[in-house]
Symmetry: C2
Subunit: 115 residues, 2 copies
DNA sequence: GGGAAGCGCAACCATTTGGTTGCATATCGC
DNA sequence: GCGATATGCAACCAAATGGTTGCGCTTCCC
């Protein structure tokens, strides 16, 4: 098979494709969790907009939301980040392997032309 | 500073967020490059749609396009993938460091309650 | 030279996305 | 109980996205 073995984490990449969501993740990197209002302040957006972005992040598995009485607490979950990094590394590794095989193939064909 | 040091590779993540584009990248992983028509066949899309996706990938730096006579040859450039993976690792590392500091802080506060 | 192949550009359309506002509901604290 | 706080849901809107078709230009090859 020429494809990577693990599943492609497209939702994670799509979630990370928006700088606003990345900024939210950086705010969530502090331990302890934040509620929606605390996350929305200073972003220049309404709470509802922030809530939508948090929904995308939650759907991608990057954020866990737990209802805590009156407000919902959002926490970072970095496990999908590790999966995404692993996919990137695997993709690159397979690509490099292809190039290495091409290199040896060219060497076998014409050793003097590929120093 | 609480932010990661390197710039956030949002365009790369946005480009990888579409499964169609990831499939194109996997087709491009074979060495030698492909022209537009070869990439479009079998995708169920028109050449123009594939060209737009290739434009997004090129803009993200994941693909290099070189004009080769009548047709343009597209080649994979995996360097942004490495940058993206590095960003993911750095983000996770900083987050883990925060958690570690919290852990030691809690230990200093009440050693018997955090086994 | 002339037909065919390959590509880019522009116009166009449907759907999704990113954002807003308004309102209803649940919860906390006095 | 009651006011204030925190959230979710629905409707709505502008802009971006993903796709199409058509046309024109360049390049190959016979």
């Amino acid at each position: 098979m020429a494809s990577t073995s693990c599943r492609r984490p497209s939702p994670v990449f799509a979630a990370l494709g928006d700088p606003t969501r990345v900024a939210l993740l950086e705010r969530l990197r502090a331990p302890g969790g934040r509620n929606l209002s605390a996350l929305a302040v200073g972003t220049g957006m309404s709470r509802q907009a922030v809530s939508k972005h948090l929904g995308v992040l939650t759907h991608a598995g990057l954020v866990r939301a737990s209802s805590r009485g009156r407000d919902t607490v959002y926490e970072l979950d970095a496990a999908p980040l590790a999966e995404a990094a692993a996919w990137l590394d695997e993709f690159r590794a397979l690509w490099d392997a292809r190039l290495d095989r091409l290199d040896t193939f060219l060497h076998q064909l014409a050793p003097e032309e590929t120093p």
